[in-house]
């Protein structure tokens, strides 16, 4: 009986050791595929707009806006959750994740009203992203301004 206990223990140790890694590998493959496909889709929109004669920067922005629209819609109908469950970071790291981070709490907290529910909760994740992104950009802007002064 002792023997079987030991083997059970060892077996669970082996499982603990090996499965997180193989899980990570599978997760990374899924993230790679979903993230890559989202970027290809965005690139396809850009290429199509460029062929229509749209300027490059505008094409890029419109492509982002399209993805934000689709991600918000998929969040609303409850499909984005499945995409994020499968693709993990592949769905979260592209701009679709930002859109989902805004739309998901907006829908989720609707029952708490449109002011403190929808209006406030939509920035639960997007808020910090904007705050610290902006803060970084101020620092960069000031350094850039100083360099320009010295240089010019």
């Amino acid at each position: 009986m002792d023997n079987s206990n030991i083997t059970k223990e060892r077996f669970s140790q082996m499982v603990d050791k090996s499965s997180p890694n193989s899980n990570i590998f599978t997760n990374c493959c899924k993230a790679f595929a979903i993230g890559g496909l989202i970027c290809v889709f965005a690139q396809a929109i850009i290429q199509w707009l460029l062929r229509m004669g749209v300027e490059k920067d505008i094409a890029s922005t419109l492509s982002s806006v399209s993805l934000i629209f689709l991600a918000s819609l998929l969040t609303g109908i409850g499909v984005f959750d499945n995409l994020a469950k499968f693709g993990g970071a592949g769905a979260i790291v592209p701009i679709t994740g930002f859109a989902n981070a805004v739309a998901a709490p907006a829908v989720e907290f609707k029952k708490e009203g449109f002011i403190f529910g929808v209006g406030a909760k939509m920035f639960v994740i997007a808020g910090p992203v904007i705050v610290y992104g902006l803060a970084t950009s101020w620092v960069i802007g000031i350094i850039y301004w100083l360099f320009n002064r010295i240089g010019g």
Binding site: I38, S64, A89, V93, V129
Partner: protein, 118 residues
């Protein structure tokens, strides 16, 4: 070719995010913040711009691309309007994305109800 680059680079950035989620205790929210800050810093030193030229949507669609836009906006506005550009540039450049996310998030909240939890 641009599609292949978009797929590979976009996919790789997501893999970095996935490794951070699985290997560290960082929440997705922290990772999003981190990615935007890193993208902004790389944009500031001019690296991300060249990277975006190379990888197209593969570099601009992942969240570091959002950070890159913040940095690029600030630089362009500093060139145009001096120190004031530090305050205006970041949001000006990212206005479409932020505004679209809020608009469609709000519309989603109006149009849809949360799914009942199983």
């Amino acid at each position: 070719m641009i599609f292949l680059k978009a797929f590979l680079i976009g996919g790789l950035i997501c893999v970095i995010g996935q490794i951070l989620i699985d290997k560290t205790k960082l929440t997705p929210a922290r990772i999003l913040v981190m990615f935007v800050v890193i993208g902004c810093l790389l944009g500031g030193i001019g690296v991300y711009g060249r990277f975006a030229e190379f990888a197209g949507a593969g570099a601009t669609i992942p969240l570091p691309g959002f950070g890159y836009l913040l940095a690029r906006g600030v630089k362009e506005e500093v060139n145009r309007s001096g120190l004031l550009g530090v305050l205006t540039g970041g949001l000006k450049m990212t206005a479409a994305g932020i505004s679209a996310a809020v608009l469609f998030g709000l519309l989603a909240a109006v149009a849809f109800n949360p799914k009942a939890k199983e």
